[in-house]
């Protein structure tokens, strides 16, 4: 099972492969995704004695402005046509917006799972005073398509688990069968039957997983 040359046939990746793929992913992101800060590689301190470096990718302090605009608008649409009532509800909207409009900060870590031999996305949200956001609040920040996906599908769900290295509760995105859909991506994107080069593994993975949390992967990265 060659680690650096190509992705393993079955959609999984080795630890060495993950390190290579992570660097390639971070490089491409830096070049093509200028609307976002770059990902950084965080080496695992207690592993630095080894020749093989281990670590994870980190993207932190991404600001998502929480707005109640959309939902408030929807609410006001449900209200009857009575003008005075509508006026009242508009005022209510403005009032609520002033109170609740605040920045939510998000940290994302891409961590390798040695058990499943695929990457996992860990994330957490917090307000400007550092207080963690609950999953209900976070779900409101996610694209509405994700929320229905999460609620309905059996292929992905979010759980609260301990970060593998930081001794703190984070949220983890569980895409079931990661290796299966990576395999599909790999097969569908290659015309001559070649396997996906390991450098593109995380790019492909993130192009799917990132969408669930509202982070889009520019198409240029997939080349």
């Amino acid at each position: 099972m060659d680690s650096a040359g190509e992705v393993v046939n079955d959609g999984k990746i080795t630890l060495e492969g993950f390190t290579v793929a992570a660097r390639a992913f971070a490089d491409k992101w830096k070049r093509h995704n200028l609307s976002f800060p770059p990902w950084s590689w965080v080496p695992l301190i207690n592993r630095t004695l080894l020749k093989k470096e281990e670590g994870y990718l980190s993207l932190e302090k991404i600001i998502i402005l929480s707005s109640v605009d959309e939902s408030a608008e929807e609410e006001s649409l449900d209200v009857t046509a009575d003008w005075s009532e509508r006026e009242e509800s508009i005022d209510h909207t403005v009032l609520v917006q002033n109170v609740e409009d605040e920045a939510h900060y998000y940290d994302y870590h891409i961590v390798y799972s040695a058990s499943y031999m695929v990457p996992m996305l860990y994330f957490r949200g917090y307000s400007s005073d550092g207080r963690p956001l609950s999953l209900d609040v976070i779900k409101r920040d996610l694209p509405s398509s994700s929320v229905s996906l999460l609620l309905e599908s059996k292929w992905t769900f979010i759980t609260q688990e301990e970060h593998p290295y930081l001794n703190r509760p984070w949220f983890k995105l569980h895409p079931c069968g990661t290796e299966e859909w990576i395999k599909l991506l790999s097969e569908s994107s290659s015309s001559d039957g070649c396997q996906m080069p390991v450098e593109l593994y995380l790019v492909s993975w993130f192009s799917v997983v990132g969408q669930v949390v509202g982070l889009r992967t520019p198409l240029e990265m997939l080349i």
Binding site: L50, A114, S115, P132, Q160, E161, E162, N167, R168, P169
Partner: protein, 334 residues
């Protein structure tokens, strides 16, 4: 078969005597209640003991809702780690009874993931079982295909420490076999599992490589010490390195894959021909730079590193098929 069953019996019967104190900030009665004495199964989990403990303290609690957690000398205890592992890891010098503090309020949700009683513990158990299955078999189908009631019964057998019930249910789990060359035993799982097993078998029928579910907890001390009592207490979990990583079990003809080989594969910085388990001096003084494995504990037993790893796995693993290893090391000097 007999040897393996005997070992499992010892593992399942292993227990830690606990002396549980109510945190003083929560004592709302006078006099304060005496501590509760509870015998905690090693393979169990602290939240499962709450029904035994709560009656001691319920009359002393201030009004409000319970959110229960435990601490040892101020360190919040991770409830999803088996009790025996917590004890082996946090008490260098075993403390009997083990003095813990229980809290019914003020859950430290910034450091501990939430626990909603038995349901959370069961979820954690099943998840670990799936992960172990994936490592051993290459997929979790055996767990997913188990009927809901069988899964329930399996969990109940673990919760109740009922080894007989667990053993009866194991064949339905169809977990792949981890080869053990040192005890003649029938596979506890069905014959079909061998085909789906993670262990590759070459033409000659020799097992080449397999993945073993291991959770390694490494406590590192910077100073050398004579006795375990001299090992400083830990203040936070940040002093412990946790590795949830399978061991690649390599079987080479004529060579025995030992516990040392397994640990060194996860902690290569402690390996080498000259790595040792107790303070012998190095001829060239290089002990100053390399670290040293001081102690390895599994199920409360301090093991010699030369023991064949397959024996350790098959006899000392937990019911979710994970082998939990607590290691105390002296850190390498840099």
């Amino acid at each position: 078969m007999a040897a393996n069953e005997e070992a499992m019996k010892y593992v399942w019967e292993g227990a830690i005597p606990l002396q549980i104190h109510l945190h003083k900030s929560e004592v709302a009665s006078h006099p304060a209640p005496p501590p509760a004495l509870v015998l905690a199964p090693r393979i169990g989990y602290l939240p499962l003991l709450v029904p035994l403990i709560k009656p001691y303290f319920k009359d002393s609690l201030p009004p409000g809702e319970d959110s229960i957690w435990f601490d040892y000398k101020g360190v919040p205890l991770k409830w999803y780690i088996p009790t025996g592992v917590l004890f082996d890891l946090l008490c260098a010098e075993p403390e009997r009874p083990w003095n813990l503090t229980i809290h019914f309020r003020g859950y430290p949700s910034n450091v501990l993931i939430p626990c909603e009683g038995e349901g959370s513990v069961k979820w954690n158990f099943v998840n670990s079982l799936k992960e172990a299955a994936y490592i051993i078999n290459g997929n979790c189908k055996n767990v997913m295909n188990m009927s809901q009631s069988d899964q329930e019964d399996l969990w109940t057998s673990v919760m109740n420490g009922d080894l007989d019930a667990y053993t009866r249910l194991l064949p339905r789990l169809k977990m792949g076999n981890i080869e053990d060359e040192f005890s003649r035993k029938e596979s506890l799982s069905s014959p079909q599992s061998r085909q789906g097993g993670g262990a590759e078998i070459d033409v000659a029928g020799q097992v080449k490589t397999a993945r073993i579910p291991v959770r390694l907890y490494v406590r590192s001390v910077s100073q050398n010490f004579e006795n375990l009592e001299d090992v400083p207490e830990i203040d936070t979990w940040d002093e412990i390195s946790y590795m949830n990583r399978p061991v690649e079990f390599l079987k080479e003809k004529g060579k025995c894959f030992t516990l040392r080989d397994a640990i060194e594969s996860l902690l290569p910085e402690y390996s080498g021909d000259r790595a040792q388990t107790s303070g012998e001096e190095e001829a060239d003084g290089s002990q100053e730079t390399r670290g040293e494995i001081k102690l390895v504990r599994i199920q409360g037993i301090e093991l010699k590193l030369e023991i064949p790893f397959s024996w350790v796995v098959n006899n000392l693993m937990n019911p979710e098929f994970y082998l939990h290893i607590s290691v105390l090391v002296k850190a390498p000097q840099r």
